[in-house]
């Protein structure tokens, strides 16, 4: 699984060479440690070089990496006494959105996030992180509960998008997302969101109307997937690379556009190389923000959120 992405091939080649050298040293009884060290240094340089110059498409690959820590992984690493809560009280329990309560240090917190799997079986269970309306309705139920009991809300965004299927449409996918956008605006508790992987369109925003939005370093956030954009606008599904660049979906883009409040650094190569370090980085930010919000008046918190989204838009003025 290490260095398995296409653009990581040079790195994986080098590490293979290192392995070969080590084996040779072992079997032949030769001292190749100087050689090995040299190549290791080269590999490190190469990694820094490659990971510092990722294209948007490469970042998308990392954002979607199957071993990337998902919401449940992060919940367990970041929160104490996490208890998952289920169901929308209307139709079903959507496994592609998980929610629950837990402690972040002294803070009683409601956590809600999209849930992907680490293998095909898990992904089928989780519908590849693509929620049905039930997922958004469960999320809203939990957010209202958090509001009632004065618990700040943390959401982890990680979805290719809301599921495009017959049942989802029948049961009001559009209604469910729209309602969340409206209701989240007025929540009487602070909401902090982190795009931990893929921020796919309305399906992402449906749990993303927050006071603070952070992007993981290799996360993306987009109005449409590069593939979808390519096939619709570029009339050529193969132009996903160009679409990925044009759409400005990387963490730095999203911050530059004023949508995100900051980037959370990942271990070299991506969050999947070190879940603990990743969780730790997120935890620090969350603790900092929730501590700050605890001192703020709730009406100020709501006003901040309202104003944040109110001011979004980029247009010219006519004379």
């Amino acid at each position: 699984m290490k260095y398995s992405l296409s653009f990581e091939k040079p790195i994986s080649d080098l590490y293979q060479k290192i392995e070969q050298l080590k084996e040779l040293a072992d079997t032949g009884g030769i001292d190749l440690s100087a050689e090995v060290a040299k190549i290791e240094e080269r590999a490190n340089h190469m990694k820094e070089e490659i990971y510092a110059n990722l294209t948007p498409t490469q970042i998308v690959q990392i954002a979607r990496h199957i071993k990337r820590p998902n919401t449940v992984n992060l919940c367990k690493l970041i929160f104490k006494d996490f208890i998952e809560l289920h169901g929308d009280r209307l139709f079903s329990d959507d496994p592609s959105i998980v929610g629950g309560i837990g402690f972040l240090k002294k803070h009683r917190v409601m956590i809600i996030g999209h849930q992907k799997g680490h293998d095909t079986k898990e992904n089928i269970k989780r519908n590849f992180g693509m929620p049905h309306p039930e997922g958004y309705r469960k999320a809203l139920r939990l957010m209202k509960m958090a509001e009632n009991f004065n618990m700040p809300i943390v959401t982890f965004i990680d979805t290719p998008g809301a599921y495009p299927g017959i049942g989802a449409e029948e049961r009001g996918q559009a209604e469910a997302i729209a309602r969340n956008l409206k209701e989240m605006t007025g929540l009487r508790v602070p909401v902090v969101s982190v795009v931990i992987g893929e921020g796919g369109s309305g399906g992402a925003l449906g749990i993303g109307v927050s006071n603070k939005l952070y992007m993981m370093q290799n996360a993306v956030y987009s109005v449409i997937s590069p593939e979808g954009c390519a096939s619709i606008l570029f009339k050529d599904a193969k132009k996903a690379d160009r679409a990925a660049s044009s759409l400005k979906i990387t963490a730095t883009d999203i911050v530059r556009l004023g949508i995100s409040d900051g980037v959370i650094e990942e271990p070299l190569g991506g969050a999947h190389y070190d879940w603990d370090a990743t969780a730790d980085k997120i935890k620090k930010i969350l603790v900092r923000d929730l501590t700050a919000y605890k001192k703020m008046d709730v009406d100020v918190v709501i006003e901040e959120r309202c104003q944040k989204f109110r001011s979004m838009g980029n247009f010219g003025y006519t004379t």
Partner: protein, 288 residues
């Protein structure tokens, strides 16, 4: 979402009244039943096919004349315009696309906002127009809709929005997505002051438009046969790899599935809106 299936040129053409190659363009063909219709008859019938009740798409001007008391609608002109802040180029530059849309439609954007009277009752309204880049919502559309809602928070007029939109405007990237939250947030604030909002869904209302202000009406009406969806039919077909049932995602389907309050024929729309406003509005201010 915002997968504007029918955004493609072909589909778009099929839905507007197709003028036939007959002198003076006085005949049109119904794209639903193929009947040949006399243009003046069609217009007198609110652009609804006289044979099959197919509701042709109408421009924002036509909609305004059908709904508001004569000369009562005053557009609120907002001095803003879309810009190509991402330098977005697909098969053509966004800036060029905008220019072409302006030339073709003689409009500045995909929505008009303003105040008007419906049977003497004041309302704030937004009227979307599919002809301008598929009615897609970018920063300007989102801003104008937000402004007309905010105006209602002040003047307490009920808000009516006629939707006709393929969703978010991809050429503005993430910023177009955020217009969903912006408009929905404005509606949250409108709800706080108990001003009614009526959403009227016209063909088509999909993607980011349906998943925000369109589906947030206190009352949601729809024209017959309108396509109303989150994901477009083609995307769903590609995902589930099977044909969709007839009538899927049309107004009648949504009514059955509990998503609409009522389907209203275009000729009854003014009367219905007028009645609903009279009944719902706790802040009536009549002017005649």
């Amino acid at each position: 979402m915002s997968i504007l299936d029918w955004f493609s040129e072909n589909n778009n053409k099929a839905k507007v009244a197709k003028k036939l190659d007959i002198p003076e363009d006085v005949w049109v063909k119904c794209s639903s039943c193929n009947a040949t219709l006399y243009l003046k008859d069609l217009e007198a019938n609110f652009k609804v096919c006289l044979e099959c009740n197919y509701h042709f798409r109408v421009s924002s001007e036509e909609r305004i004349s059908q709904i508001f008391d004569k000369n009562s609608f005053k557009e609120i002109v907002v001095p803003i315009e879309p810009i190509d802040f991402l330098n977005f180029v697909d098969t053509e530059k966004y800036s060029v696309r905008l220019e072409k849309a302006r030339t073709k439609t003689k409009k500045k954007e995909a929505v008009i906002i303003g105040e008007g009277l419906i049977n003497g009752q004041q309302v704030n309204a937004g009227i979307m127009d599919f002809s301008f880049m598929g009615g897609s919502m970018g920063s300007v559309v989102g801003e104008k809709l937000t402004l007309i809602i905010e105006k209602a928070i002040e003047n307490k007029n009920p808000v009516i929005i006629f939707t006709s939109s393929g969703g978010a405007r991809m050429q503005e990237g993430i910023m177009s997505l955020m217009q969903m939250a912006k408009t929905s947030g404005a509606l949250y604030r409108l709800g706080k002051v108990f001003v009614p909002y009526i959403s009227v869904l016209c063909d088509p209302t999909t993607g980011g438009t349906s998943a925000s202000f369109a589906m947030l009406g206190d009352i949601i009406l729809a024209e017959p046969g309108a396509l109303i969806s989150f994901a477009g039919p083609r995307v769903i077909e590609q995902t589930i790899r099977q044909k969709l049932p007839k009538g899927f995602q049309r107004s009648e389907f949504l009514l059955e599935h509990g998503m609409l309050d009522k389907i209203v024929h275009r000729k009854d729309m003014k009367f219905t809106l007028s009645s609903i406003i009279g009944l719902l509005n706790p802040h009536p201010q009549k002017k005649s």
